[in-house]
Structures are given as C-alpha cells and as structure tokens.
C-alpha cells in the first residue's frame, strides 16, 4: 500500500528550518477533563506535519484552540514568531492560518463558487457604502474575488461545479471544496482536520498527491489524520498524542515503529493475544 503514494520530491524550498507555528505548554480543560495537557508543538515552514493519536486524544481540540475557537486554559501559541494566543478565529485567519473541519462545515445553501469566494472575504475591504453604490473600486475587487475563487476551484478540480449548491455535490468533493475555501484566503499555514475521512483509497491518494503539489507554493500544512497510509506517505514530521499529552514525535518511520505509539493505539502486546 505504501508504494502506491507518490514518492515525495526533494524540493529545495523544503530545506528550511524556519518555525511557522509553535505552541508552548498549551492546555485546555472542559470542566474536570483535561483535553489538552501542556502540549508543545513545532511546525516547520514548507513541511507537512501530522498529528496522530487514538480517538479522544485531544487532537481536534488543539486545532480548535490554535484557530481561536476555544480559549486556552494555559500556555501560549505563536505564529511566525508573533503571539496569537486568545485571538478570535477571524483574526487568526487574517494572520494567515486557514483550516478545514473534521465534520465538513460548508455553507450548504450557497454555491460552490460562493463558498470559495468567502475565503477571500478577509483579503478584501469594500464596505457597505461602496457595495451599495458599486464604486469602481468595489466592482474591481468583486471581480478579483471571483477570479481567485474560480482559480482555487479549478485547482482542486471542482470547476464544473461552480454554480452547484454545496449541499448537492458528492462527499469527496465537499472535502475538496472546503480545502479550496481555505486556500482562497492565501494562507501561510493550512490546517486540515482528518481530510481523508470518508474518502475511498483512490480519493485519498488523489488528495495526497494534491497536497504534495500545493506544498511547493510556499505553503505549510498541518494535519490530523487517522489513515496511516496518508500519514506515512506524505508527512515530514509526525506528533503523536494520547489522552491530551504528547507521547512521541519524529519522522514517520521512527514513530511508526515506536512501541509507545503502538501501545497507545493497540494496547499492550499481551492483551492482543487474549
């Protein structure tokens, strides 16, 4: 199975060691439950980093804190050196972090094009009065928004579905649409929450090739994944979480054979035999 995924290209751009996202003892509690327990995360520019771990490990919660949906209970996090702790989600987006969701969150009753155009919202400025009176500046900006959106739609291969309502397209395409929307804001960091969930093998493979492609354009990717093929196939760096804590991290091959990791997923060796 591993062989099916394209070999990563050794691209000059990816030798950098610049840190794009960093969390420092990040903690989040829900009542008595510590969902995220002092997590230290480092994401390097131009690389594809993955967070893996059994269900309930707190992976999505980490994303939700970083992207501003939850407020942290402890620790801080930095993006491109700037402290972004406590910012609201739309501010985080403006800084350059875009995300997708585990349970797809599209704007169901709007067209695919409109969904992707919304990604450009934070990159445009026209206010109420220019919009009402259609100042030339505003119409030019609208055109540009539409162009960028159409470009991203083409990029993920959903061009033909421009005017379809988002709720009417196939599940796999909905995942791609969400990614297109995230890309439309021209982010520096793309955070994907289980992007291959619900996709079949072929679709997963296509998605992975796609991610490998876009990484070349000065983009960093951080993803949560359950599908080991995906993780091993394209990640440069893997962080493993279990019960809110980081239990291992390293290159995919190292993590794959780490007994601590195996135990977290499968339980102790003896138990398997029973």
């Amino acid at each position: 199975m591993k062989g099916k995924i394209l070999e990563k290209e050794n691209n000059i751009d990816r030798f950098t060691d610049e840190v794009v996202l960093k969390t420092d003892k990040l903690t989040k509690r829900f009542g008595g439950l510590v969902a995220v327990d002092q997590i230290d995360l480092t994401v390097k520019k131009g690389k594809i980093s993955s967070i893996i771990g059994p269900n309930g490990a707190g992976k999505t919660t980490v994303f939700n804190v970083i992207t501003g949906i939850y407020q942290p209970d402890g620790g801080q996090y930095f993006f491109k050196g700037e402290k972004i702790s406590g910012l609201k989600p739309h501010q985080i987006l403006t800084k350059g972090i875009a995300r997708t969701f585990q349970n797809i969150r599209l704007f169901q009753n709007m067209t695919c094009l409109e969904n992707v155009m919304s990604g450009q919202h934070a990159r445009s400025q026209s206010g109420v009065w220019p919009s009402i009176f259609r100042f030339p500046f505003q119409t030019r900006e609208e055109r540009k928004i539409q162009e960028v959106a159409e470009g991203r739609l083409e990029q993920v291969g959903l061009g033909p579905y421009k005017y379809e309502l988002a709720k009417n397209i196939a599940y796999g395409n909905q995942r791609l649409l969400e990614i297109a929307r995230a890309l439309a804001s021209n982010p520096d960091l793309l955070i994907l929450d289980e992007p291959s969930s619900g996709l079949n093998d072929k679709e997963s493979e296509d998605l992975m090739n796609f991610l490998n492609e876009i990484i070349k354009k000065d983009l960093t990717i951080l993803l949560i994944e359950h599908d080991m093929n995906v993780v091993m196939g394209i990640s440069d760096w893997v962080t493993v979480m279990d019960e809110g804590k980081k239990i291992a991290e390293g290159k995919p091959e190292e993590v794959y054979s780490n007994p601590v990791v195996i135990e977290a997923y499968l339980g102790k060796e003896e138990e398997e035999d029973m």
């Binding site: 829900f30 999505t60 939700n64 949906i69 939850y70």
Partner: protein, 303 residues
C-alpha cells in the same frame, strides 16, 4: 412590616401563576427546542373554560358543588380540556413541521397562537369577561394581625402542591430522568430506548393542563379576563423560564416565583406603569450576564 409580608404574598401569588405557565414552556422547550407560543393562549383558554363552567353554568355547578367544589371542578375541567388541546395542537400543527426546521416551527406556533386567541374572541367576544363574585371564595382570614384572603392562600397551596408533585416526578422518578435526558439530547435519548412519544405526550398534556389550571386561578384572583392576556403572561412566563435556566424544570418554577417577586418589588418601589419594562430589563440582563439562567448548565457544542 405587615405591608412587606402582604407584598411578599402578592409577589408569590403572581409568581406561582408565572411558574405554572413557565413549567409548560420549559418542558416543551427543553425537550423539543420549540418556543410554544400557543402556550400563553392555552392558559387564557383555561380561564375562559373556567369562566364558562362557573359563571355561565352557575346554576349547575356552584349550586351542586358549592363554591369550593365549583373551583375544584373548574380547575379539573380546565386541566382536562386544555391538556387535550395541547395534545391536539402538537399532533396537528407541530408534528408535521418538525422536519422542516426550527424557523417554520416558530411560525407555526405563532399561527396556532393567533388561532387560539381569535377563537376565544369569536366564541366569548372581544370584551373582557368577569368571574362574578358569587363563584369566588371571598373570605378574609386574620392571621397574626394580617388580613389575608383565603383565596390567595388556597392558590398558593395548590400551586406549590402541583409544583411539588411535578418536581418529585422530574427529579426523583425514572420517568423524570427520562424527561431530563430528552431535554439534554433528544436523539441519544431515543437511541437509548426512551419512548419519546410518551415523553411528548406527557409534556404536551401536562404543561397545558397546568397552564389551564393557572388560568382558572388567575380568573378567580383578578376576576377580569380578556382574550389577549395570553401574550403578556406568556412572555413573562417565558422570561421566567429563561431566568431559571431553559430546559430546567425546577428552574422554571424558581424563575416564575422570583419573577413574580421582582415584578411586585418593581411596581411598588419603581412604578406600576413601568413594571413590565422592569421585568423585561431583567430578562435582558440575565441573558447578557448569565444566559444559562440561575439553575441552568452550560452545554458545549462539539466543533
């Protein structure tokens, strides 16, 4: 001092009206996430049913049962009729609309409210009706130097009795636990084997029944009833629901009582004219600073 206690009692009485109505709102909203706008009008219908039985049918009822019997008969009949109405409304106007979403349900509830209100107007006329004094127990007691109307005491006793029974059912029985489970998460409760239809039957029968009973009590206490009083009471009762914590049934009771007291205080110390404004302001402040209400709990949304 005397005055304060009397005011307190007045506040509690008003509060128990709100509480009884609020219970209906809270149960329905908690389980079905639907603001049953028709509930206030069902309450009004209850008072008119009582009126019909007692005043229009005086010869039959009061002469046979006497004043106290008449009151009980009226409350019983009101409870049964309004309870049935509640079930009918749910079956005809709400159930077909659930799949369409929350907003159509709200509009439908408004529609039912309009239907009931105008039906009352058509049947009983647009002018206010009155519970005549010969059907109302009117007997001043002298307790510890205080002059208290026995009607007030009976109302308070009955209200607290009903609330107590309901509290017991909700908090101490398995069925009550099932209701609370539904209020938290209806789908999962159904998956766990809880008979949702039974729960719906219960809340749409008992809630309005209590409301109808409260209607009779209000008729006896204030004597004058109009077909539009449902909205005002309904709104305040819903305020009480929010105050106590939405979906929380003991909360609705508490909210109602507190609201009654606050309204009383407001009308005495601020001004009678602005007492309703005072009540709504409380609502808004509660929602801003403590949206989960006094007894409510935060429910997190999974992202």
């Amino acid at each position: 001092m005397k005055l304060i206690i009397e005011q307190l009692l007045n506040g509690l009485t008003i509060g128990s009206f709100y509480a009884l109505i609020a219970l209906g709102y809270s149960m329905v909203y908690g389980v079905m996430k639907l603001i049953n706008f028709a509930h206030g009008d069902l309450f009004t219908l209850g008072s008119f049913v009582g009126y019909t039985l007692l005043v229009m049918g005086t010869a039959y009822v009061t002469s046979i049962f006497g004043i106290w019997g008449g009151m009980i008969a009226a409350m019983l009949v009101a409870a049964i009729i309004i309870g049935s109405m509640g079930l009918i409304v749910e079956r005809l106007a709400y159930r077909p609309i659930y799949p369409a979403g929350r907003l159509p349900a709200v509009v439908s509830a408004l529609g039912v409210s309009i239907i009931i209100q105008n039906s009352i107007m058509v049947i009983w006329g647009a002018r206010p009706q009155a519970y005549t004094s010969d059907v109302i127990p009117n007997y001043m007691l002298n307790i510890a130097g205080l002059r208290i109307n026995i009607l007030q005491i009976i109302i308070l006793l009955l209200s607290f009795l009903f609330m107590g029974i309901l509290y017991y059912i909700i908090q101490k029985t398995t069925f009550g636990a099932a209701i609370r489970a539904c209020a938290l998460d209806r789908e999962t409760a159904a998956l766990m084997g809880i008979n949702i239809n039974l729960i719906i039957f219960f809340i749409f029968a008992l809630g309005p029944a209590l409301g109808g009973t409260a209607g009779v009590m209000v008729g006896m206490y204030y004597r004058k009833i109009t077909f539009i009083m449902g909205w005002n009471y309904g709104l305040k009762a819903f305020t009480a629901t929010i105050l106590g914590g939405i979906g929380n049934i003991p909360g609705a009771m508490l909210g109602g009582l507190i609201l009654g007291m606050l309204e009383m205080l407001g009308s005495v110390y601020i001004s009678t004219a602005y007492k309703d404004v005072f009540v709504f302001l409380i609502l808004i402040l509660v929602l801003i600073f403590r949206p989960t209400g006094i007894l409510g709990e935060k429910v997190a949304e999974k992202v």
